[in-house]
């Protein structure tokens, strides 16, 4: 089925979300200030979540997702987060494991951005027991 469902996320930084999607293997990610229409595997505009059309601000088109997939979208919510719009058909691909991997990548990018903004010196990255470890040196006076 192509039916879309909305999944709340904590993603607020659009550029980090886009970078995380690219990390997940999606080489082309559309970014729109004004949400754009999503399409199903046959190229039909969908209306599952909104009678005026399912729309998203960050979109991975179906040809990029691959196979007989539908568009994958992230829609800006009133609270500033980007909710994922995933079709039932693509649940096998964009499952909990995939969503967790996307979140890991996103959090890592947000942390790196925060560290840079605050002048923290990046010491290194390791993967220990399945966990990503990032270390920074804080040379600020306080």
């Amino acid at each position: 089925m192509s039916e879309y469902h909305l999944q709340q996320t904590q993603y607020k930084d659009r550029s980090c979300l886009v970078a995380a999607l690219i990390d997940m293997g999606y080489g082309t990610v559309e970014v729109h200030d004004v949400a754009q229409q999503l399409f199903d595997f046959q190229g039909r505009a969908t209306h599952y979540l909104d009678k005026n059309g399912d729309k998203a601000n960050v979109i991975v088109r179906r040809n990029v997702v691959g196979g007989a997939s539908n568009d994958l979208g992230f829609s800006l919510q009133p609270d500033g987060t980007y909710a994922a719009i995933v079709s039932d058909y693509d649940n096998h691909k964009h499952d909990t494991g995939w969503m967790n991997a996307l979140k890991r990548s996103y959090v890592e990018k947000v942390d790196m951005k925060l560290a840079k903004k605050n002048g923290l010196q990046f010491l290194g990255r390791k993967v220990i027991g399945g966990k990503i470890q990032l270390q920074y040196l804080d040379t600020r006076s306080n």
């Binding site: 967790n100 959090v107 942390d111 925060l114 966990k131 990503i132 270390q135 920074y136 804080d138 600020r140």
Partner: protein, 61 residues
């Protein structure tokens, strides 16, 4: 003592922050910054240094 921030991101994408070398409020400020960045509370591991400043303040009263 050098102030080192160690972030651990688990397989579910949740993170904890280990702060070494911070004293008192400096620790809370860094923790808050990481919380704001990912939009949820961050589990912080407070080292003995954290309590040094608080103890000094108590003695000054």
């Amino acid at each position: 003592m050098a102030k080192i921030i160690t972030v651990l991101i688990d397989e579910a994408g949740d993170q904890s922050v280990d702060l070494a070398g911070y004293q008192g409020k400096g620790c809370a400020a860094v923790q808050k910054a990481f919380e704001n960045a990912i939009g949820k509370s961050v589990k912080a591991v407070k080292k003995p240094d954290y309590f040094k400043q608080a103890k000094t303040n108590t003695l000054q009263r």
